[in-house]
């Protein structure tokens, strides 16, 4: 049995954990839920030996243990699969799995023994067949995730921490992962599991603990819980309606139209986008839904086919062309494509408008930035999106995931003239931020803007969108609206060829 007793931890003035107690029975799956910044990652890092608690005790099988470093935590049988993959992309699967615990013959690596050991771990845990001799950078993300888990298993753990293991993988791979988790559980391994998706929690967890503001506010067996109870505990307020209601219905005027549009991934897409509608785009990763978003926003050029804006042919050669017409794009990966990490919130928010030709807060000729106007502009967005910050000067890297995403959306919200394209905008952000985001999207649509909403999370499409198109292998295979739009319909359309 694993027991955390009254753990506290502060970083400077912020108290991340205010005395958290948690008991986990051996051979069970314990889900940890909470919004970003609730302290769940810090708690897991204490257990992983990354952070040392200011006070409190960790008790493993009746004995108090001092987890002063990740290596020592490993020695106590606690191993972690971190949120960000911590793999070496140029090395083989074998090399990655056995990193730091390589078998040797004299001064040389014993590659046969390394292979044998990896293969036996893989077979024992019931993993699907993976090619472990390739450099893992060439494998799909889901396989990398599995290798990360294998690497963790090579440490022979009693307790395994999985920090958002489903964030980067596809729906069908999630069930594969869950099978592996259940299999590990049956072998007596204790699993701590963090996820933002509650339906996943209900699928695999035995019990759930909820953290809020560094305190444990709920700890209960899964049988005694429902989704609403967990969400209410996470938010500390009641959630009547997660997805906001539309005040207006979409218009019947076509804003943007694609005719037999092709890119590398898209294969003859015909699509009309109406004014004031929220159009959902679903499909498994790689089915072309991301390309569709990028195409509409001018990030990806059209290879063949046509695009019309207000019934006039239009061609976006660069993202600037789309921006000039009022079509803006919120990219999929905020870290890689969205924000400027070491620059301030203000600078991030104002960058697109400053890049515009006729920016109102630049002087003529020399293009000095009028600082007051820029600050007011940023101030307005911060209020509009309820971005939580004490200073506009904070570098965006220092903010929580949800707040970062609000900054990325905020960059564009005043720039969107006619169409806002969102590519999976809720990845890895907390429930509160999601709700705020949904509300802003709805407001824009009610004002007559067209929204293209790409999501890998089907309940979101159903909750938010007026109409949903589902892509498979670069083609639109289904269009769902009203009563027809159900989770089953989307999933069966995604499987169509």
């Amino acid at each position: 049995m694993l027991k955390l007793e009254d753990i506290t931890k502060s970083f400077g003035a912020t108290q991340a954990l205010k005395g958290v107690t948690l008991e986990v029975d051996s051979g069970t799956i314990q889900a940890i839920a909470g919004e970003n910044g609730s302290g769940k990652s810090t708690l897991m890092k204490v257990l992983a030996g990354v952070h040392q608690p200011d006070s409190g005790r960790v008790i493993l099988d009746g004995k108090q243990v001092e987890l002063s470093s990740p290596i020592i935590a490993n020695q106590h049988g606690i191993a972690t699969v971190f949120q960000e993959l911590s793999l070496f992309p140029h090395l083989s699967g074998y090399a990655n799995i056995m990193i730091g615990r390589e078998k040797t013959k004299g001064p040389f690596l014993d590659k046969t023994a390394i292979r044998r050991k990896s293969d036996s771990i893989m077979a024992q845990a019931g993993f699907p067949k993976l090619n472990l001799s390739l450099p893992i950078g060439s494998l799909p993300t889901a396989s990398q995730q599995l290798i990360e888990i294998l690497k963790c298993l090579a440490k022979d753990p009693q307790v395994m921490i999985l920090d958002e293991p489903t964030a980067a993988i596809r729906q069908e791979e999630v069930s594969q992962l869950f099978e592996i988790m259940l299999n590990l559980k049956s072998k007596g391994i204790t699993i701590l599991f963090i996820s933002h998706h509650l339906e996943e929690v209900f699928e695999v967890a035995d019990q759930v603990a909820v953290l809020r503001d560094g305190e444990q506010v709920l700890s209960e067996k899964i049988q005694n819980l429902d989704e609403a109870k967990i969400v209410n505990a996470m938010l500390g307020r009641r959630l009547d309606q997660f997805y906001p209601k539309r005040k207006k219905t979409s218009g019947n005027q076509v804003l943007l139209e694609l005719r037999s549009a092709c890119t590398d991934e898209l294969d003859g897409v015909d699509l009309k986008i109406y004014q004031g509608e929220i159009l959902g785009v679903g499909g498994v990763v790689g089915s072309g839904q991301s390309s569709l978003a990028e195409l509409i926003a001018g990030v990806l050029p059209l290879k063949s086919g046509q695009m019309f804006l207000h019934n006039n042919p239009v061609r976006f050669r660069h993202v600037q062309d789309a921006i000039a017409k009022g079509v803006v794009y919120i990219p999929e990966d905020r870290r890689l494509e969205g924000f400027l990490p070491n620059l301030s919130i203000k600078t991030n928010l104002s960058l697109p408008i400053i890049a515009k030709k006729d920016c109102p807060f630049l002087t003529k000729v020399v293009k000095f930035i009028k600082r007051n106007k820029e600050e007011n502009y940023a101030q307005e967005i911060v209020k509009r999106l309820r971005i939580k910050t004490s200073t506009l000067k904070a570098p965006v890297a220092s903010l929580s995931g949800g707040t970062q995403q609000k900054v990325v959306v905020g960059k564009w919200i005043q720039m969107a003239g006619i169409c806002l394209v969102l590519n999976d905008p809720t990845k890895g952000i907390d429930v509160g931020s999601k709700a705020d985001l949904f509300e802003s999207i709805n407001e824009l649509a009610d004002l007559g803007m067209s929204i293209v909403f790409v999501s890998s999370h089907n309940p979101e499409l159903l909750g938010m969108c007026d109409r949903i198109v589902v892509l498979s292998r670069g083609k639109i295979v289904s269009e769902l609206q009203g009563e027809q739009a159900t989770e089953e319909a989307i999933i069966s359309a995604m499987a169509l060829k």
Binding site: R237, N342, K367, E375
Partner: protein, 335 residues
């Protein structure tokens, strides 16, 4: 849309948002950061002036400022490049080449023509770097390493490996003269530093420079022409190197094809000491100038104390290590 049962929570949040969010809170931190290097400089000055009475004399101060001018001018260009997460190794070659071209042309042409040609050399090399990096997509390190080598070779061919003397006296007077304790070349340096710091912090061009260095993909998706921005940044660095080369020619009254060797390393060191980050998105012209001053003071002071030049270069390396170490330390402590 949430119905809030915990109303006190939400009202707290509202009042937080209503008050004007401050822009000033980190001013003190900024000041502290830049003053860390500045106080190291002051400390050095105190130590050296106690150790050697000559150190603080106006003659020596004049000499230090003169010494620092060339490296500082290069550091201005290097600052821009490093903010974009790049590096310009070709600066030293441009110093040599532009000095040689200017000096050769001064023999038979007007000084204006010679200066223009020298500056043009810098622009050409800068444009070449920009082309290699933005169009041919070479990493900045490789592209500028190549142009460093090419530029150095061209300078050797033009002069047959010999120094160029007979610099017109008006140019030499400019290079060595000054007003009071301010050498002309330092005034040129200061004017350029002010100009480029203003551009960096108050104009769109400066903003774009930081944006490209902080996250080039996000910058592109924000509608910036990132290739164009990088091109101009390397053009600026080439131009500043040429200015440095001409100032050096005037100052030493001759042009050596190898005159600029290792200057690129000194300018990089100055930028890094002054708070620039090789990962991009950080750095200021002021910081780099202070960094250059620190290096020049160290070299001058140790010379006065009779420490051998061999030991001096070791000290220089140590200063770079210390500066970046403290910088990292501060960052870890900071946020």
């Amino acid at each position: 849309m949430f119905s809030n049962t915990a109303t006190q929570d939400s009202s707290l949040e509202e009042s937080d948002l209503d008050k004007k969010i401050s822009l000033k809170s980190s001013k003190w931190k900024d000041l502290f950061n830049s003053s860390l290097v500045a106080s190291a400089l002051v400390l050095l000055i105190i130590v050296f002036s106690l150790a050697s009475p000559y150190f603080l004399s106006s003659n020596n101060a004049y000499h230090i400022i003169q010494q620092v001018a060339v490296v500082a001018v290069l550091a201005v260009g290097q600052t821009y490049v490093i903010i974009t997460a790049g590096i310009d190794l070709s600066q030293g070659a441009v110093v040599g080449l532009s000095g040689v071209v200017g000096a050769l042309l001064m023999q038979h042409n007007s000084i204006e023509v010679a200066i223009a040609a020298g500056l043009a050399v810098g622009l050409v090399v800068g444009a070449l770097n920009g082309f290699l990096i933005t169009i041919a997509k070479l990493p900045p390190f490789i592209a500028t390493l190549a142009t460093l080598s090419i530029g150095g070779g061209v300078a050797l061919i033009l002069t047959n490996g010999q120094p160029v003397f007979n610099i017109p006296s008006s140019f030499v007077n400019f290079g060595s003269g000054g007003i009071g304790i301010f050498p002309y070349i330092a005034i040129v340096m200061l004017a350029l530093a002010v100009l480029f710091q203003v551009v960096l912090s108050y104009t769109r061009f400066g903003r774009f420079t930081y944006a490209v260095g902080s996250n080039i993909v996000a910058a592109r998706l924000s509608g910036l022409k990132v290739g164009r921005q990088l091109f101009f940044v390397y053009l600026i660095s080439g131009f500043m190197s040429a200015v440095g080369g001409l100032l050096l020619t005037g100052y030493v009254a001759s042009a050596l094809p190898s005159a600029g060797s290792n200057y690129e390393l000194e300018s990089i060191a100055a930028v890094v000491i002054g708070g620039g980050s090789l990962f991009g998105g950080e750095g200021t012209v002021w910081g780099s100038i202070v960094g250059a001053l620190l290096l020049a003071t160290l070299s001058n002071g140790t010379q006065l104390l009779g420490i051998s030049t061999y030991v001096q270069v070791i000290l220089l390396g140590l200063v770079v290590i210390l500066a970046v170490y403290f910088d990292n330390f501060r960052r870890r402590k900071g946020v």
